[in-house]
């Protein structure tokens, strides 16, 4: 099992979620981060103090999937999150040793299979 972590533009979030849904990815968690990369920087001015905002708002997705689901997941994100301009973000795939579903205590594969949907994995 793997944990796919994706950091990308917040404005692409809806698109990414749609695409993931098409790829049958059901469970995920989203948070907001501030990213620093090669993006266009914003200059802001407050009462005579000019500041350079080196950080830009990004969305961060965390999706735990079974191995053979990694590829479709990554592809879906790559497809939907891309705009082609600097600052599109990154995807990391991390190894996971164990997964639990809190509701049932189920482990691993079973823990990430949607409820009531015949497991395809």
């Amino acid at each position: 099992m793997k944990l796919v972590v994706a950091i990308f533009r917040s404005e692409r979030l809806s698109a990414v979620l749609e695409e993931l849904y098409r790829a049958d990815v059901q469970g995920l968690s989203i948070s907001r981060v501030q990213g620093h990369g090669g993006e266009r920087e914003q200059v802001e001015t407050y009462r005579g103090t000019t500041v350079k905002m080196e950080l830009s708002e990004k969305s961060r997705l965390e999706i735990c999937v079974s191995n053979h689901f990694v590829d479709p997941t990554v592809k879906a994100i790559l497809k939907a999150a891309r705009t082609g301009a600097v600052g599109d973000g990154k995807i990391f795939v991390l190894p996971v040793e164990k997964i639990y579903r809190i509701r049932t205590g189920e482990e691993d594969q079973a823990a990430v299979t949607p409820v009531g949907v015949p497991s395809r994995s």
């Binding site: 404005e11 979030l13 979620l17």
Partner: protein
């Protein structure tokens, strides 16, 4: 009619009306963010529901000629409420001014039952309460044939009518509704203290209309009521901060906001009856029982969520009694109190408070039980957990970013196709 009086009463009425949105912020800032809209809406709907009911019926029950206990129906549907003089101002303006009091009194009660009461039950409750509790008590105290009025009870701007009344109703409502589901197992912290401060600031501002407007004209009496309304809360604020400092070593902002409101509540019945220097004393003294009332309440099982009882019930009672102590005919031209040789006044004040406690307590209890028969009073526990904003109003107070949101058009093609199919249940 007197145009200067009209000018001042126009302003006063607008000021008192503003107090209800102000209360929405005072209360709304003190609850958790997931219940903030619900809390604010409890004040805002009062502007509509009570405002309309007051015009249609409530005003008549309170001020139309009737008996000692309730007014008649002569002014129902605003009959006879016209541009002719009532005192020195047009009758319709007097009706509006009084209406703003009815609106805020109902809204005050909500502080005791926020974060759990079903919104529809609340609506029915405040409608009935305005007609069955507020109008009669208002009649007792302020109508020329009301029994407390004829008896000589002093209530310049509503210490008993508004604050003791709302305080006891809040007490009863908190008991009937029961505590929030995690009460005493979890701390409920204010989600936006600046909003509470904003509310307190606007309340003070509006209260000048409430108290100085109760002189019903731009008179020296109004100036006196204005001065006491400025000084008493200032003193209450000072005493409150000192109590905070003694107890926790820290002066809190929620405490400051509360202290201001308590000072305002306490001066309400006394506003035009006592001297400015007495107002400083009254404000300072009144802070103490409310402060400790609030500390004590937090240790009980009584989930009077925003401490309406300690602030308005206790504050109003103390204010009403101290009115009987500090009243000075030399200033008001009305009556002296205990300190100025008329101990009887204190007794009358006590009776007025007692009668209000009793009547409001009993009838509020009955009304809540009645409403409970029609609609469950409480939201379901899971809804309470999710938050009243989402479950009762289908809204959230704050959103950041552009969430993953699906636009649903009823019975129409949905804009966002993939998630739409999910929505339609066609999951695979």
């Amino acid at each position: 009619m007197n145009q200067a009086d009209i000018a001042w009463m126009l302003v006063s009425t607008a000021l008192v009306l503003l107090m209800t949105p102000a209360l929405a912020f005072f209360y709304g800032g003190l609850v958790r963010s997931k219940n903030s809209l619900n809390t604010m809406m409890m004040s805002f709907v009062s502007l509509g529901v009570v405002g309309v009911l007051w015009a249609l019926l409530g005003y008549s029950l309170a001020f139309a000629p009737g008996g000692a206990f309730i007014g008649g129906l002569d002014h129902a549907l605003l009959r006879g409420v016209n541009l002719e003089a009532k005192g020195t101002i047009p009758h319709v303006l007097f009706m509006c001014f009084q209406g703003t009091f009815a609106i805020i009194t109902a809204a005050l009660i909500s502080g005791a039952i926020v974060e759990r009461m079903r919104f529809s039950a609340y609506l029915v409750f405040i409608s009935l309460w305005t007609l069955c509790v507020y109008s009669p008590i208002c009649h007792w105290v302020w109508a020329s044939d009301g029994w407390l009025f004829t008896w000589g009870a002093l209530d310049f701007a509503g210490g008993t009518v508004v604050h003791v009344n709302a305080g006891v109703a809040a007490f009863v409502a908190a008991i009937v509704l029961g505590p929030r589901k995690d009460y005493a197992r979890q701390a409920f912290l204010p989600h936006n203290v600046p909003f509470a401060l904003l509310g307190a600031g606007l309340l003070w501002f509006g209260w000048f209309g409430f108290n100085a407007g109760s002189a019903l004209g731009a008179t020296p009496a109004a100036a006196l009521a204005f001065a006491t309304t400025m000084l008493a809360p200032a003193a209450a604020l000072v005493v409150w901060t000192l109590l905070d400092l003694m107890r926790n070593g820290k002066i809190t902002a929620v405490g400051a906001a509360t202290g201001i409101v308590v000072g305002l509540v306490a001066i309400t019945p006394a506003a035009g009856h006592i001297s400015p220097i007495s107002a400083i004393l009254l404000g300072g003294i009144a802070a103490i029982p409310s402060y400790y009332g609030l500390v004590f309440r937090a240790r009980t099982r009584l989930d009077d969520s925003l401490d309406v009882v300690a602030a308005h019930g206790v504050g109003g009672t103390v204010g009403a009694l101290l009115t009987g102590v500090f009243s000075e005919k030399a200033w008001s031209g009305v009556a002296d109190g205990l300190l100025f040789g008329n101990p009887g006044q204190l007794g009358i004040q006590a009776v007025a408070v007692g009668a209000t406690l009793l009547y409001s307590g009993v009838v509020t209890f009955g009304l809540l039980k009645l409403v409970g028969v029609l609609v469950p009073l409480r939201a379901e526990a899971t809804d309470e957990g999710l938050g009243m904003d989402v479950t009762q109003h289908g809204e959230e107070a704050y959103m950041d970013g552009e969430g993953a949101i699906l636009v649903l058009h009823e019975r129409e093609a949905v804009v966002s196709p993939a998630l739409a199919s999910a929505a339609a249940g066609g999951r695979s």
